[in-house]
């Protein structure tokens, strides 16, 4: 009880730290970019706004002292996943400019489900972690050194299994997208 009282006295909603202010600002930008991603009618713009959202998340990881995850986020998501999505948009002959049929007919239902999910999740999360603070002082918890040590000391087997999974996915993607010759059909 006294511990909770002292931590509550040390932190407070009314005296946010610089990290908290930065986190909230970047979080607002990320959320706005995500909203534009799912609502815009221009397909290529959706992919470009996705870059903003994922880059904002990389900054959030940096603020949470998870450096390595942040750089992985930039490399994998911003660098390759979005490029893959843009390739997909171009290969499926997505229209440049506004496309009137970007949203399907069940938009009101989707909005209701999403609002209900957001309300329920935010209520539960805020109620559960009202008096919990992350201690960000001390050495960074996600530096490349630390992550490399734990990844290759404690998580070697999942890591290797994952590399086999990636190989299988790569081969599967190649097999799926290969054009069959006419006589093989």
């Amino acid at each position: 009880m006294t511990l909770a009282a002292t931590t509550a006295a040390a932190h407070g909603f009314l005296s946010p730290t610089g990290v908290e202010v930065a986190f909230v600002l970047v979080g607002l930008a990320t959320l706005g970019a995500a909203l534009v991603t799912v609502t815009t009618r221009q397909l290529v713009h959706a992919a470009l706004w996705l870059v903003v959202a994922l880059g904002g998340l990389a900054v959030e990881y940096l603020l949470l002292t998870a450096e390595f995850i942040a750089w992985v986020q930039v490399l994998i998501y911003v660098g390759s996943v979005v490029v893959l999505l843009l390739f997909g948009l171009m290969l499926t002959k997505a229209p440049i400019g506004r496309s009137p049929d970007a949203d399907s007919g069940n938009r009101p239902v989707a909005l209701a489900v999403a609002l209900a999910a957001a309300a329920a999740l935010v209520w539960v999360v805020v109620d559960a972690f009202r008096t919990t603070w992350i201690d960000l002082d001390g050495p960074a918890q996600g530096s490349t050194d630390v992550i490399g040590q734990i990844l290759f000391r404690h998580w070697v087997l999942p890591f290797e299994a994952l590399s086999v999974l990636l190989l299988a996915a790569l081969v599967g993607a190649i097999v799926l997208s290969r054009k069959k010759k006419e006589d093989e059909r």
Partner: protein, 113 residues
Amino acid sequence: MHLAYPAVLAALLFAVGLYGVLARRNAILVLMSVELMLNAVNLNLVAFDVWLRDALHAGQALTLFTVAVAAAEIGIGLAIVLMVHRNRGTSDVDRLRDTREQPSAEEKAEAAA
């Protein structure tokens, strides 16, 4: 930092992705929304790992694994979308209705009568 900030941001991002998955019609836009949902989960994992100061850093290791699985998912998903587009000439998920439930013959007869 207050733990509620990353947790609330992750919940809201997840809801935005959920809306995108349900409301979008182009299959590639649906894949983008799935990426948003996966990233919300990653933010939760990292925040709770940093909060708990886990000795094994299970949250961050799991985040790396999730990122790799998401990369595999986007590769396979795009390959499938491209194949559907090549065979059907559309990547519109509303028009892929091969497995929908057909109205039975009795209901048709009742409707006709």
